[in-house]
């Protein structure tokens, strides 16, 4: 770079040359500020989503770059939320990649005093085994007074209000077929 250019890029010189004597405006603007763009402009993809907290059902847009969510904000097109979010909805990304989010299976053996590591697939096998065993051990074909039962009261399942309809459907379908009837969530309204 030639000296002239160096001097020319010196805000002090700009200030005098470019009509900003007080140096309060453009002369003070740094190169980075000139080039500044919103980071969502650099997103690879934008996923249409829905807020996971309450049931108002605010529409969200999730901006993704290099396989990471870089921003979540309201979708103005929604007739319900019109792009607006409450503090929880606005914190969706903070919840999604929060400091205490867990990513590994944790196992605690009976009477154990600490968590142990466990491979996901092994955990799935162990859970499947537990369900089959407990179901066999607690199966009830009929009630004491001979009424049909076809069920186990030895296993229960709790949850659903925060899950997707499709997830609830598979949950209900599988557990009903297994004869597990204590399928509940707190949607008791």
């Amino acid at each position: 770079m030639r000296l002239g250019e160096v001097l020319g890029s010196w805000p002090l010189v700009k200030q005098l040359r470019e009509g900003d004597p007080l140096g309060l405006g453009k002369a003070a603007q740094s190169g980075a500020s000139v080039r500044l763009q919103p980071r969502i402009a650099s997103a690879d993809t934008v996923a249409q989503s829905i807020c996971p907290f309450c049931a108002v059902g605010c529409a969200q847009l999730a901006y993704v770059k290099d396989g990471k969510v870089i921003q979540v904000e309201g979708d103005p097109a929604s007739p319900i939320s019109r792009g607006r979010l409450c503090p929880k909805g606005a914190a969706s990304k903070n919840m999604h990649d929060g400091p205490l989010r867990e990513y590994k299976v944790k196992y605690r053996r009976p009477y154990g005093t600490h968590w142990e590591e466990l491979e996901l697939d092994q955990a799935m096998d162990m859970i499947a085994d537990r369900i089959v065993e407990t179901r066999n051990a607690t199966w009830q074909e009929t009630t004491e007074d001979g009424a049909p039962a076809h069920r186990t009261l030895g296993i229960g399942n709790l949850g659903g209000a925060t899950l997707d309809n499709e997830e609830n459907y598979l949950m209900k379908k599988l557990l009903t077929a297994l004869g597990i009837v204590q399928v509940e969530n707190q949607a008791r309204i």
């Binding site: 453009k26 603007q29 763009q37 919103p38 904000e73 607006r84 990304k93």
Partner: protein, 314 residues
């Protein structure tokens, strides 16, 4: 500079220094009469601007645990509970007389003020004027922004803000390439000053600021300042017709001590109740006179010292 002495309502370096690049002056109108105090603005701001968490301190000051605008909080929702009527006299919603019950031995009057405070983006901004490095500057949108790549943390802007908005960040500095050999001089703290940028980057991309976009009830309104001022005037008339207790505009007047705010408010009580100065004046309004007096003082010192040489022999 003299125009600083008599506020003109138009920023000193805008739009002229930007020529064709100049954009209409953008700002906020925060209408506290429809603020539900949800703090979505605080969170949306932090998410967008990647601002660090500001500490987990329960204050007991109603529902406000953020306490103030500072380097790590650029939107701050204030909460004030009062034994006051929301509306002065009977308001006439066709027949509904709000005050009746209260007058006839109903419950104590009670209202809960909530207001989302933010940098005022003053027409004449103390922080901007006193910044020695030009880190603070007036953007093409007429807003006041700190450039994190320039600020050297001299801290002059902090006491220069009549609203106590801008502040130095004391949290640990994030890894970033410091200039060659300058690491020796580096400090552990971030050390730079931060405040609302009115989402300068979003504006450049044609998006509205994060807080205004998130605001569920549109209490935070973003737009061209002139249009906002007009809207605010109409809004005040409506509220006064409805006898809202203490409704007033704050910072919309181009004739005030900072030449009007770029982000102004509709309040329901005196400004100081919300932690706002009743009559803010930009420090540099007095600067011309101050410079004169400084020059005189300098001269006086010179004369005084000279006097020390005359008389007294040796």
């Amino acid at each position: 500079m003299t125009d600083l002495a008599q506020p003109t309502g138009s920023p000193a370096a805008w739009p002229d220094t930007y020529g064709d690049e100049a954009k209409p002056r953008m700002g906020f109108f925060t209408d506290t009469s429809i603020c539900i105090g949800c703090k979505a603005c605080e969170v949306a701001c932090k998410e967008w601007n990647l601002i660090p968490e500001d500490g987990l301190v329960w204050t007991g000051e109603s529902y406000d645990n953020t306490s103030s605008l500072n380097a790590n909080t650029w939107r701050h929702v204030t909460f004030v509970e009062q034994r006051k009527q929301m509306h002065l006299d009977p308001i006439d919603v066709e027949s509904g007389d709000v005050a009746t019950a209260t007058r006839e031995g109903g419950p104590q009057p009670l209202r809960w003020l909530m207001e989302s405070d933010v940098c005022k983006h003053c027409t004449h901004a103390g922080c901007l004027d006193v910044c020695p490095t030009g880190a603070l500057f007036r953007t093409e949108f007429g807003t006041v922004v700190v450039q994190e790549d320039v600020c050297n943390g001299c801290g002059y802007c902090v006491p220069a803000c009549p609203f106590g908005v801008i502040d130095r960040r004391h949290l640990p500095r994030q890894a970033e390439d410091a200039p060659l050999l300058m690491d020796l001089l580096g400090k552990k703290e971030d050390g730079r000053v931060w405040k609302c940028t009115l989402c300068y980057d979003r504006l450049k991309g044609g998006h509205e600021p994060a807080c205004a976009k998130a605001c569920p009830t549109n209490s935070i309104q973003f737009g061209e300042l002139d249009e906002l001022r007009e809207r605010a005037g109409k809004r005040l008339e409506k509220l006064q017709a409805e006898r809202w207790n203490g409704a007033r505009l704050y910072g919309h007047d181009a004739g005030d001590g900072v030449g009007g705010f770029g982000a102004f408010f509709l309040l329901l009580d005196e400004p100081e109740v919300y932690g706002l100065p009743p009559d803010p004046v930009v420090p540099t309004a007095h600067l011309p006179r101050l410079w004169k007096s400084t020059a005189l003082a300098a001269a006086a010192m010179f004369v005084g010292l000279a006097a020390a040489f005359v008389g007294g022999g040796e």
